[in-house]
Symmetry: C2
Subunit: 526 residues, 2 copies
């Protein structure tokens, strides 16, 4: 498929008239064809108008129609074949294996949401039958279901050009909920975005859905991004990116005449707690595995382990030595964009210059453009507490060890951390009481707690939480990965004393859907 | 129990030092004893510190302990006996029957949440078992549950001195979720608040819970109200009241270093759609029943029907004549406070003076202090569209009929309405197609749709939604009445590869709780 450099607005393609951008191949430093012109307020307006016009029709599709649409999107993505993989590799600098894995994840995610749509549990159907003879007052017949919020603005993320981008998790869960989607594509991978966007567009056409179910715009954050979030027809926002970017969208959304929810996944340093018995038993192995997680994907994961807490002493020395050895052999890795590399280098510089912070290890020097050198730093708990800047995420393969006097100090540090996506415990049986004391602190601060693993690698499943208290996300009541992500785009509606013919199918007495429903508060498989 | 005029901070009682307020008995206009001194920033600080200190212990209580605590609160409320009823009648001007009904509802609500806590469905327990042999990568063991957000600030509402106040729906659902509560009592019913607050305090003591599980403060909105919402230990807010009040809290919550959710139930005019066949069949009966709903409780309900839409013609004339007759016999009713009466009179004055609005009926003149005279107005659709001020809620027994040319105009008006708690259809079988055309519009705008009923009267049950898009509430994804209200105070946490001994009981393989859980996405009754 020849790339055209055009935006997708409903069923049409359109060249943006604002300052064009080209992707930079970060492995070579070269600009890639074609150029992608940016959208204006007029295109934002047009995409939102189409999305709004499509909303009632799209949300009225049957579960089967909607599920089959999601599967068609998956199919269309796969049919792009190698072209999609090669373009994504070229635009992101990520290795082919990773992009293939990410494609499998993206397609699997769409199919999982198709299954979720068919199951219908997300409808949370509830029926409280009428009690006409109840005293002192009769009870009316009350039925409840969840309905979609409305059109959703989705922002493509730089670090997952497939799985968190045009046809990624936010789009999949919003479409599953019944919400049309308007994507602002990320300028780091416009060609990948065009390919994925055209796959979704083709699926909309094949499934004979209204064209406004999906649009995709390129352009400046200040015009297209802010414009989408401010548009009255947009009813929710999905975003993965920087804290500054997410906070700017939150402000715009809160200042609207009708404020809307923003689901921004923003920043996290994902503390790893090395408990004493685990360190005694396997400090070297932990050090080596930790470096594997730290350097994976050039450290460009929301769940990258950017903070390590351990008790000072010979075990920590062993951990540091093993980590330094592993890191010393870690090749510099191509980062997503020159801008991300620059921010990473500034973050490393900041840590290097911090008065009470020592660099204890580093990766191999770069041997190509846009490559980042991994780095490991160490400080003590008091110095960490004294400098809030040390808690800022450095996006890339950099991490900071906090040397603690004892496990009580580890807990004190944890108690003061900002909200995080994850926390990890390295522990042995003998550490159980220490872990138990830490858990309430961690539960209050993070969305996912791992034992003896590493936070990178986020499973797309029913029990996953990729979310957490602010500022790891804008809304800690949600997850952006896993099937619960659909709930972000829903709200409840109650139908009182409705005649059967006006009730939605899922709430009728003899529903053909055979859903699990709450009847008078009790789960009943119909 | 002798009223002391004191605030409740954990297990202690304390006289506020700020400007004292006395309740005004709106039926007599007299100030009541005792005086209630207002709290300062120091008391806010103390209550929040205690709530925070109690949080981990309280949320770790077993389901049975927490359920039994809620039942103890209900029991303690009932044991206040007639003293509570009499004080609430005196402070609110509401009739005894209504207050007794409200007490039954409040106690029933606490007991219903006790049952919800025991059922454990709110935990939304999910288990995705490990798949160690999966290719290309094994899947870890993932388990998810919902945990409470943290201490919640609850604002007592003037119009439900029991059911939406100190021990009302917000408090019951927050306590059920595992959140300590700090109440800002409403200054219109401080004595009722003290009695209810002491009942909760006694239940905390009897159940041997940490004292910080419940505190109650009096005082100014600018000090105590804003102070609570700004306190970093408060993690969510429950509010029922004016739009200005709710919006002020939303602003404060959004401006915090860590923004928090605000569940403010603010304003709604609850449109009633009179469809043609229903009007033909029973315009008079509808007019009479409508007036019953309009004047109930002096019109002081969030769900009061403040807007009526009908097609112009002889049926509408019949409706107006019947409503005018019923309203003409409706006695003026005592309103909650002199301030609420004043605002009501100003609202009626505004409608009376609006150029294209006619007063078509009014209730009987007042014969006591603080009494409001019901009023019914009429305008046409174009005039309504031209004056946004006509959509503002007039809290009390005033309503506005919109004369429409046809049902298409009714739909056009509906399409432009702000978010509402409810919408009502009066319809016959012949109206089904008209109703079907209206439904998508209404679903997008309201939380509850009723057929052939009236919106006043909100059942506390599993399928109820008392919520709706902004500005009817601050967060249309939620309900403040019914068992789903618990979800407002929860967030998901995922446990990855946890040893059984560290897992919460509800997520263990052999959980003694026998919950319904999602296993690999499928509901399994354990």
């Amino acid at each position: 498929m020849a790339l055209t450099g055009e935006m997708l607005i409903g069923a049409t393609r359109l060249r943006g008239t604002e300052r064009p951008v080209r992707a930079i191949n970060p492995s070579t430093g070269e600009a890639m064809e074609p150029a992608y012109g940016g959208g204006t307020a007029a295109e934002v307006e047009r995409a939102c108008a189409l999305a709004w016009a499509a909303f009632d029709t799209y949300r009225a599709t049957t579960l089967e129609q909607r599920a089959s649409f999601l599967e068609t999107v998956a199919q269309e993505l796969m049919e792009l074949g190698d072209e999609l993989v090669e373009r994504a590799v070229a635009e992101s600098g990520l290795p082919r294996g990773r992009i293939e894995g990410e494609r499998a994840r993206t397609v699997g995610q769409l199919r999982l949401f198709a299954q979720v749509v068919r199951d219908g549990l997300w409808l949370d159907a509830r029926i409280d039958p009428a009690l006409p003879d109840r005293k002192p007052l009769p009870r009316p017949d009350l039925r409840q279901r969840q309905i979609p919020l409305g059109p959703v603005a989705v922002f493509g993320a730089s670090n997952f050009p497939l799985a968190f981008s045009v046809a990624g998790g936010d789009t999949a869960s919003a479409l599953a909920a019944g919400c049309p989607v308007v994507v602002k594509a990320h300028s780091a991978h416009p060609g990948t975005s065009e390919l994925a966007g055209r796959a979704v567009q083709a699926a909309v056409r094949k499934c004979e859905l209204p064209e406004g179910v999906f649009s995709m715009l390129f352009g400046a954050g200040s015009v297209v991004g802010q414009g989408l979030v401010a548009d009255p027809r947009i009813k929710a926002v999905g975003f993965t990116g920087s804290r500054a970017g997410g906070v700017a969208l939150m402000k715009t959304a809160a200042a609207r005449p009708e404020p809307i929810p923003v689901y921004a996944e923003m920043s996290s340093i994902n503390p790893v707690f090395l408990l004493p018995a685990a360190m005694k038993a396997r400090a070297e192995a932990i050090g080596k595995a930790f470096v594997g997680s730290l350097t994976m994907g050039a450290g460009q994961f929301c769940t990258n382990p950017g903070l390590v807490l351990a008790v000072e002493g010979p075990e920590l020395d062993r951990f540091v030595a093993a980590a330094a050895e592993a890191l010393g052999a870690a090749p510099a890795a191509t980062m997503l964009t020159p801008g991300i590399l620059k921010a990473y280098q500034e973050g490393v510089e900041r840590l290097s210059n911090a008065p009470k912070v020592q660099k204890v290890a580093e990766g191999l020097l770069h041997n190509g453009p846009t490559q980042g050198q991994a780095a490991l730093f160490m400080t003590d708990a008091a110095s960490f507490a004294a400098d809030p800047g040390l808690e800022e995420e450095v996006f890339g393969a950099a991490s900071l060890i906090i040397r603690c006097q004892d496990t009580g100090t580890m807990r004190d540090v944890a108690e003061k951390l900002e909200g995080q996506l994850t926390a990890t415990l390295q522990m042995e049986k003998e550490d159980v009481e220490e872990a138990r004391a830490l858990l309430p602190v961690l539960e209050r601060r993070v969305g996912r707690i791992l034992v003896n693993g590493y936070p990178t690698g986020v499973e797309v499943s029913h029990a996953m939480v990729h979310g957490g208290p602010y500022p790891s996300t804008a809304d800690g009541r949600s997850t952006s990965v896993g099937t619960l992500a659909i709930r972000r785009f829903l709200r409840p509606v109650c139908y009182q004393d409705f005649p059967a013919e006006l009730l939605p199918e899922e709430l009728r007495d003899n529903s053909p859907l055979h859903l699990l429903r709450l009847e008078d508060g009790k789960p009943v498989q119909h």
